[in-house]
Point group: D4
Chain length 225, copies 8
Amino acid sequence: MSEAADVRLDVSRGARTNVPEVIYGAGKTPEQIGRIARELYAANGFALATRVSAEAGEALAAALPSGRFHARSGILVCGSQPRSGQRVGVACAGTSDLPVAEEAARTLEAFGHDVREFYDVGVAGIHRTLAVRDDLDACRVLIVVAGMEGALPSVIAGLVRPPIVAVPTSVGYGASFNGLAALLAMLNSCAPGVSVVNIDNGFGAACVAHKYVSLNDAARAAGER
Amino acid sequence: MSEAADVRLDVSRGARTNVPEVIYGAGKTPEQIGRIARELYAANGFALATRVSAEAGEALAAALPSGRFHARSGILVCGSQPRSGQRVGVACAGTSDLPVAEEAARTLEAFGHDVREFYDVGVAGIHRTLAVRDDLDACRVLIVVAGMEGALPSVIAGLVRPPIVAVPTSVGYGASFNGLAALLAMLNSCAPGVSVVNIDNGFGAACVAHKYVSLNDAARAAGER
Amino acid sequence: MSEAADVRLDVSRGARTNVPEVIYGAGKTPEQIGRIARELYAANGFALATRVSAEAGEALAAALPSGRFHARSGILVCGSQPRSGQRVGVACAGTSDLPVAEEAARTLEAFGHDVREFYDVGVAGIHRTLAVRDDLDACRVLIVVAGMEGALPSVIAGLVRPPIVAVPTSVGYGASFNGLAALLAMLNSCAPGVSVVNIDNGFGAACVAHKYVSLNDAARAAGER
Amino acid sequence: MSEAADVRLDVSRGARTNVPEVIYGAGKTPEQIGRIARELYAANGFALATRVSAEAGEALAAALPSGRFHARSGILVCGSQPRSGQRVGVACAGTSDLPVAEEAARTLEAFGHDVREFYDVGVAGIHRTLAVRDDLDACRVLIVVAGMEGALPSVIAGLVRPPIVAVPTSVGYGASFNGLAALLAMLNSCAPGVSVVNIDNGFGAACVAHKYVSLNDAARAAGER
Amino acid sequence: MSEAADVRLDVSRGARTNVPEVIYGAGKTPEQIGRIARELYAANGFALATRVSAEAGEALAAALPSGRFHARSGILVCGSQPRSGQRVGVACAGTSDLPVAEEAARTLEAFGHDVREFYDVGVAGIHRTLAVRDDLDACRVLIVVAGMEGALPSVIAGLVRPPIVAVPTSVGYGASFNGLAALLAMLNSCAPGVSVVNIDNGFGAACVAHKYVSLNDAARAAGER
Amino acid sequence: MSEAADVRLDVSRGARTNVPEVIYGAGKTPEQIGRIARELYAANGFALATRVSAEAGEALAAALPSGRFHARSGILVCGSQPRSGQRVGVACAGTSDLPVAEEAARTLEAFGHDVREFYDVGVAGIHRTLAVRDDLDACRVLIVVAGMEGALPSVIAGLVRPPIVAVPTSVGYGASFNGLAALLAMLNSCAPGVSVVNIDNGFGAACVAHKYVSLNDAARAAGER
Amino acid sequence: MSEAADVRLDVSRGARTNVPEVIYGAGKTPEQIGRIARELYAANGFALATRVSAEAGEALAAALPSGRFHARSGILVCGSQPRSGQRVGVACAGTSDLPVAEEAARTLEAFGHDVREFYDVGVAGIHRTLAVRDDLDACRVLIVVAGMEGALPSVIAGLVRPPIVAVPTSVGYGASFNGLAALLAMLNSCAPGVSVVNIDNGFGAACVAHKYVSLNDAARAAGER
Amino acid sequence: MSEAADVRLDVSRGARTNVPEVIYGAGKTPEQIGRIARELYAANGFALATRVSAEAGEALAAALPSGRFHARSGILVCGSQPRSGQRVGVACAGTSDLPVAEEAARTLEAFGHDVREFYDVGVAGIHRTLAVRDDLDACRVLIVVAGMEGALPSVIAGLVRPPIVAVPTSVGYGASFNGLAALLAMLNSCAPGVSVVNIDNGFGAACVAHKYVSLNDAARAAGER
């Protein structure tokens, strides 16, 4: 997520890379976030900020045009994108991983996609994963979020057809080494079709999924050459 | 890549996960590889083995039905899959990363996709990357392979629209720590839309790309519900 | 596994700790292994050596009293222990982990226990694990061996009642870091009831399981105080 | 320890895995802990929460049915389990490791077992360990907790018959790297019969010990087949 | 940066090593910083302190002879050095890396050099780097500051002639490991002419650049021997 | 060092970056090295290859135009560059670090500079370093090579005026972790003016030094604007 | 430093190991420290506590018999030991390392030895070390404390005859990794006669030095056998 | 151990540092070792080389004046040093650690000291350590060598009065990480009086012990000032 927003907006980014410039809220003042959001909204009718604190988020959502704030994930959105009709699934095991999972889910919704959430499918009770297998299979891409031993992406990748973007989280203690254990597990998945983003990077996973499901139009032209 | 092939074939894997069972050739004898390949070919009219040595590969390609062997990547294929007409790009900087890049490229071809290779686009001479920018942009997915500092996926992700599957390689010495430097760089990419697979895992990247480009039919049914 | 065998045998070890002194074969000559095995056999009617090479193992098995050698695991046994009637399960995903799994299985058999082997139950095809769930549940202890992402112990621990001794293996490449990924995953298992031994230490896992199932007599006396 | 409690209780877990669902208190509000505890107590007549803060714990113990709180370990219990009559030992070297040791001890007591505590048996004064050797030997399982160099499990494993569940703690500074030194030492124990859980995971060690000592009934049925 | 300032000033350092003794402000009281600054200023007509807090810095700048304080970088300067006329560039990607970049820039200015700043040239939008290529090329040395994947030094080193002093920053999260990812990437740069200083060490990079551009006079004498 | 040489020569690199394309000999056949060397020599009257084996090097030196091979460093050179008259020092402690030190020295000579070698100046006998202090001081840049604890760059940086390019080597064992100890020491140098290249990267250090001493002409034009 | 003090005092430790039981103050309340100190003082006429906070230390020193507190090092002492007449040197580079150096110095004084302090001898100004060379040489043991690159023990070990106990400190930032860089450097010292204790462990170094200089009497008896 | 021997002998080292220059045999040809040994023997009547291969060692011992070679430790000695009458103990657990233990023992003997060896005292059978407690206590210094979990130095330090030089070895596998586990354990010893040298550095431990026991004369002069 470009830090350059504070300095000089990279206005061509959306057209160039299919992901619009967004605001990385951590370490920015509410004033900075608000100013950039207004600027982006003025240019594109849309702005999104991540990692916005609860206090700043509520106030900004009230002040910005068509603003809304998702407290658990820290996602702030103004305006909207056209609906894509594409279904993307977001899965995780429970409470602790929810902020990261919802960062992905809310970002994907803001980007116009249809999000299905599966939030109690941990490997310690595999029956819960099996129970939603068909629903997982009906998504075009799956984002699978897990901390601790990070086994969930491997298990799901062995059950269904969609590609999986795995997000390790820093949930855990001791030998989880702030998410390193989950990260390594996901990189070593024995089930093919899993790729990985940085620890706690729900936003990044959403961007990967977004690029996959929205690429069709861009690809069509090439396909027709 | 399932090891279970040696023990009991997971015959439903292709239907279940959209990636057929393949043979991980490292540590298997030519006889073992040949036997499993015949079994898979008999079942599906297709078999693929990775990390096959040059000696074993040439002999097996001659002996197996419609067998062919790609020496640089160690990929052995029998039979074929239907053509998808989907274009996938594979990019890397040069000589040392080629075995990994070609493991991805040959796997994708065997899976039926149209592969475009960009093999001299390192960041030390960025003009070469800029020169192929439109060709990169016309692919539905890009696999970007890099060792040493692993910067290429970030640079390309900032230039074009397709999602990027980044593959760190163990090319380098000293503080590359056998690919760790490239792996960490890719996980920390400042350009959104990059996800990462294990070090030297060209096959795994190909499976991720394959799942993305071949999902359309599966997704269509869900979209129509 | 005590190295002290070469120097001065710790003859009271079996009585003191419930695990007899065994021979760690790595780095010892066939002559050394044979000499110590004879000495232990003379004292206890039993000797066991681990990590014995195929060449040395076959010759030693032929030369030693009631000797037998298990080539895949490198376990050499002379004589026998009384049968315990206790059932211990050993599970792993397939070919590559077999040497470690069999080191555990052959050691447990030599120690007199009833071993059930489950060797194609990887997480990439969870139906195979579910199919043997009742058989896993009927064991008193389970040894679960896995390389790569090391997820199998977590999955099984969520399905059945026996305690699990998890053995990470060095199977994998790149970011498996010679078994570190599997080790960390197992230490962070989200399913309670899993404890872990060193990478590739099938023998050590067998000793833990042996102590659990054979402790009953020792415990009875204490229970009666 | 399942996080899923917050979302949807895994009610079959106790029957399925022999360890009931418990509440991981870290990061939960007193209200959340209280609500889940009541729900679990209503279902099973028993609830246990770990890592509960001193303030929350005292208040919750007063408010919950037959509630009690152990401040040093942060364990909160409502109701009780039937007594097993099984003896489990918990050993550590002293003050700093006590919170972890008591997390194990209080959990085992809540699960119905007879706990013997040995809290001044560090390797720097080995005579204190030798003095309680017979008492250690009379336990069915030993949980051995140690920080810094983590040598205590090895020393005890060389002296007595019960299996050992080793718990490294984050006690130490500098090159203890928050418990890594103790963890590695325990994984490399030269005395067989030691298995290891995550750093500071007293609860996890208690679950392993619980599974071992309570498995007899489950095992009996299998033994009789 | 010598800590010895607090104890006994190394008065010959500037003459001996071409870098005067400076004050490392972190962990020193405003009184200590002020006292040493006066002492150094009295001796050389110049003093510089790094990592001075905003509160201390403003007050000290007001109190010290010809003092000035740069809040973003924490650099405090009294007095001045003769102008060298040498041009040194400092480049980074944006907001988050600015404190480190400015630590380098303000130090170089205080040492008498002509600093050109390029603060929005991240690899995610390579066109911004290309746009300033000639200006970068016209510097005698370039300091390139980057966090996250640390790719910027490689990209610039492939475009221009000046040598590059690369400064990794601790900007990032998760697998950036507080700057380790950027550090390793820079050490493995595939473009020759890059050397690296410690994470966040903008001051150190400025000293390296200063030594290069001011060495001419010292070198001349040697050249004439 | 660009790998791209094998694929398509980056002919503008020398003009663009002030370091000509060179051949990284590791992993290339003598035929490949010979072919590229001839091509580069034909274009520029100069070619340099690093990490050439002794066998290949002697034969290639005999066969190539004005070829010469330096066995200890594995440097192969054809043709020559104009003499710069600039003095660069290369220092190390002794035998084991010599291959790396000479890789730097022979590269600098090939690039036309005047190299002074100081090869017995280890910190264990500081009088030897002090004895050559004036000679070190008369160089424009110093390359300081050290393995084990990597202290030499700090010691020299405290004694003399030239900037220092520090090269950690993989010389050592145990806790040197293949050069990591020396690398970290150099990055943490308490003496300002030290920057660092990759472990064993003598060639890279030479490129940095080369850029510094040869930049004057390029800088002059900018200075005159 | 034994934690057991809180639980049951190991009264025979001084006689048995030549280092009396001391109080590790970190994590203990002033009341706990005071109580144990009184108990130890009653038994031996001497008590020492380390890592005591400034507030607790002043109050305790006033309240305890012949108590004194050293604020910079956090050492609290009651009573005294007989003077040994043995000279031990403690060296470091400056301000930041002083708390650790003084922990060693104050402990040694409390144990009855003659301490010489050398606190401005960093490697960045080697002339200061050379200036005190004879004084360093006249000590029976040297404790050398250093953070950052940790080079000082190597430099001093190459200059003088006494053995060196090296103490890495956590002073530094970035790639010092909280003292890891200094620790590794000291373990890899190229000058023989250096051994190392844990990061920031000034007390531990003092114990090692104390054992060396006070062993003479114990050794004499053995020598006379 | 100085590498400088190959280049220019540091003839004053013995007088200056109390440890004579020795030959580090690894990576040197028999001719090089022989030449330097003769040179050192000519100067001092004594030469010692470490890490000499079995083949080279036997031949050199036969050819050099009063040469002898110790095959297990790889120590080659010519001539002798005066006897000191000082007793130094060397302890380890058994076979695998013997080469390192004997490197220490043979070096100490060559330096003139009285060495007592204790080679079967591992922590897995603590009675063997207790049995030699008085003999350990009668040494002036103890060198304690251990691989795997590295617990032996802590146990011995809690039993006896002499200071301990701990030597971790690379004996082990998996999570021993080539000696890292033992190294960390020793650095975190809970028993005071332990300092540590590099992994497998028996020679270095011998130098530390040598400096301690031979310092008396040097110290006496200082004591008399």
